[in-house]
């Protein structure tokens, strides 16, 4: 009988400027970047990064503004983060600084711009 590690739920909120250092810290401890995604909340966008080591997941949450969303990319630390960050750029319009492989909005081919972030669509209509 193995102890069930999947029931542990660990979420922590940090500031946008601390994200890169925190990611570096996780990498140093041997964590992998599991996934990263964004969620639209009433007054902004919540970006979630999940790190995993030995089947335990730790989640970091960063809340940013939805009118001009911007964040520093963690692709400098975890190279493969470019997949998730390009996706967030296309769906939420989040601009990632220092993205290792930037598709410039051509990652997904979507009929409308930033379908997940209505705040930005209205802003774009002048």
């Amino acid at each position: 009988m193995i102890e069930r590690k999947d029931l542990i739920s660990d979420f922590a909120s940090i500031g946008a400027d601390e994200l890169l250092d925190a990611a570096q810290d996780f990498k140093g401890k041997g964590y992998r970047l599991g996934q990263s995604c964004a969620t639209k909340i009433p007054d902004g966008i919540e970006v979630l990064y999940s790190f995993e080591r030995d089947n335990v997941i730790k989640n970091l949450k960063v809340t940013i503004d939805d009118k001009a969303p911007e964040l520093r990319s963690v692709s400098a630390v975890y190279g493969y983060a470019f997949m998730y960050e390009n996706e967030m750029h296309d769906l939420f319009g989040i601009k990632f600084k220092d993205l290792s492989l930037d598709y410039g909005g051509k990652f997904f081919k979507i009929a409308m711009e930033t379908p997940w972030n209505p705040a930005l669509v209205k802003g774009g209509d002048e």
Partner: protein
């Protein structure tokens, strides 16, 4: 022109399907269902194909692809929409990137429902498609004959 319906060649295109119908279309070719016993061959070239199988719904991206394949096929041709997504958009019809069934873009002759459509249903759809193909062939023959008669008459008057 019975030979077309004796050995129809297919081309399959995956619109934005979930793979369920695609693997069932492939399963039709394998020993359990084996459509090759009816002379059906899956081809990759639209210019060789008589029947166009489309799985999955249409999105902004693949409108030109679907239209292009359809236009490249020689007449007479039949379109079979396989699975509920290809018929109407199915469970994804409310998605922001989905336009709807294949009939929004090209004329569809046979609708095969199901999620995922079963191999038996797909084979049945293809066989129904053959009926449509025969009808279209007859119409085409009539048009060709009428044109020929008109041409010959015109030549006589010259």
């Amino acid at each position: 022109m019975a030979y077309i319906t004796k050995s129809p060649w297919l081309i399959h295109y995956d619109g934005s399907s979930c793979n369920g119908c695609d693997i069932e279309v492939l399963a039709c070719l394998t020993p359990m269902y084996d459509v090759e016993r009816f002379g059906v061959i899956n081809t990759g070239n639209p210019k060789h194909a008589d029947i166009f199988l489309v799985t999955g719904s249409v999105n902004e991206q693949n409108i030109p692809v679907v239209q292009q394949i359809y236009e490249q096929m020689p007449s007479p041709k039949v379109v079979v929409a396989v699975g509920i997504c290809a018929c109407s958009g199915g469970v994804f019809k409310d998605c922001y990137n989905i336009i709807g069934g294949v009939d929004k873009v090209i004329p569809v002759d046979v609708y095969v429902p199901g999620c995922a459509a079963r191999p038996e249903a797909i084979i049945d759809g293809v066989v129904k498609g053959l009926g449509a193909l025969e009808k279209k062939q007859k119409n085409l023959d009539t048009v060709l004959t009428l044109e020929k008669v008109a041409r010959e008459e015109a030549e006589e008057y010259d």
